[in-house]
Structure formats: C-alpha cells, structure tokens
Symmetry: none
Subunit: 143 residues, 2 copies
C-alpha cells in the first residue's frame, strides 16, 4: 500500500498552523472554516474537510466523533506527544452538547487500573464520557 503523494500548499500550512495554535483544545470543521473566512485567507469548506482528513491520516490531528448529528471535533497532537503520552479525555454534555476537555491524574490512575486489574487498554482518543455538565445541571434542577 503506497502512501499517496501530497503537495505542500499555502492552505495546508495555514490550516496546520491554526490547529497548532489551538494546542490543547478541539474545534469543529465549521469553526475552522469560519475562522479562516474571517481572516484574509479564505479557504473553501471542502478544502477544510479534506485537509483535516489528511492530517488525521498522518496522525497530526485527532478526530472525535460523539454523535452522528453533531459535528466532529479535531484536535492538534503536539509533536512530542504522539502515542501514549498524556492525551486529553473528553466529556460530552448531553444537554448543551458541549464537548469538554479534561486532563487529570485520577483519570490516568483509573486508566492504569483498568489495564492492571481488568486487562483492558482504554483508548482515550475514542472514549467519550457522556453525562451532564455543571452548568446544565444547575439550570435543569430548577425545572
């Protein structure tokens, strides 16, 4: 299986640069598109999707899918962090739909526990915790 050729274009660089600048956060394709449109460099929506897809294939960017009817989120993977290093976890609020970033020791510990006691290697890049975020819980309680 031969890798497909790829050219180094201005758009590719700009997009990757933007993704890098968001280090530690995720973003949807639409948001990327909007951002690029608001700047001086206007990039078509299809191109955004195509470039993002390529970045995912190269492992430069992670893609999170939560629901079929919700836009996918993309996140830049810092150079050194490739593979197992500390990756972010995500929580998805079922009320407001927000995808929340998370990074904490307890999670790492729990992951280790899963591996040591249950022989299960959880993949944080695929796993999303569903539930209700604090803000929505507050509003909802007064329902």
């Amino acid at each position: 299986m031969s890798e497909r050729q790829s050219y180094k274009t201005k758009h590719r660089e700009e997009l990757l640069e933007y993704m890098k600048s968001l280090r530690g956060t995720h973003i949807t394709a639409s948001e990327v598109y909007d951002h690029m449109a608001s700047g001086n460099a206007k990039i078509g929506k299809a191109t955004v999707y195509r470039q993002l897809e390529q970045m995912v294939e190269r492992g430069q960017v992670l893609k999170y899918v939560t629901d079929p009817n919700t836009p996918a989120c993309y996140e830049y993977v810092p150079e050194g962090d490739h593979c197992q290093e500390a990756v972010c976890f995500h929580c998805k609020c079922e009320v407001c739909g927000k995808l929340i970033h998370m990074h904490c020791e307890e999670l790492d510990e729990f992951q280790a526990h899963l591996y040591n006691h249950h022989q299960f290697s959880m993949d944080p890049r695929r796993t999303v915790f569903y539930g209700i975020c604090g803000a929505c819980a507050e509003k909802g309680s007064g329902r």
Copy 2:
C-alpha cells in the same frame, strides 16, 4: 429529576424482543427498521429511532457512534449484566468487538471525582469505554 412516563406498547415489546435476540451483536437503526418491515409488524422509521433512544436512556441498549457519516449501532445489554443497584459500566473491544461489563470501586470513585471536582455527572448507561481487551492485546503483540 423525574423520569418520564412511558407506556408499554406492542411495538416497544417487539423491538426489545428483537434486540434481545441479537444478543452479542450490534445493529443499525436502518437494519432494525428493515427487519421489522420484512416481518408482519411494520414499524415506522421514526418509531424505531425513538424507541431505540429510550432503550439507551434506560440502559437496556448501548449506542455506538463511530463516524458522523456512518449510522450509529445499537446493542442489547443482557439483563444480568445491567444491575439495578450498583451501576454497571461497559468496555467495548475495538478489535474483537466484545462488550465487557464491569463495575468496580475504582470506577465509582472516579465517577465521584468527576462530579466533585469537575462538576460533571457521568451517565454510565450511555458511556462506553473503547479500547483493547486482554485477549486481543496478547494476540496483537505478536503483530
């Protein structure tokens, strides 16, 4: 937070019965719809989606989402495995597709941590941990 009422209808029973019969396998909403249509009981597509959604809310069925452009998959959770009292979590092996049920203290603690420190109430009925099970990891290591 009050649970919403729900009636016991013929369609609900038939759908749940069908999901049960698929024990150990997942299926898409469309496939469920097609199956029901081929039988004598014709059930509307919207109803299939709505019932499946309710089953997910009750923890009777798990929902898997892979890609935004791919239909979601549903899988029945065997009775014995979803315990009423203690909450049950699920791990899904991405290699063999096996659904693993578990509940352990560490998990409960982690859930509590999420709530206390991140104000996030995780819903174990909707959350699925993706990863690789012990058996597959062993086989895979010789890759």
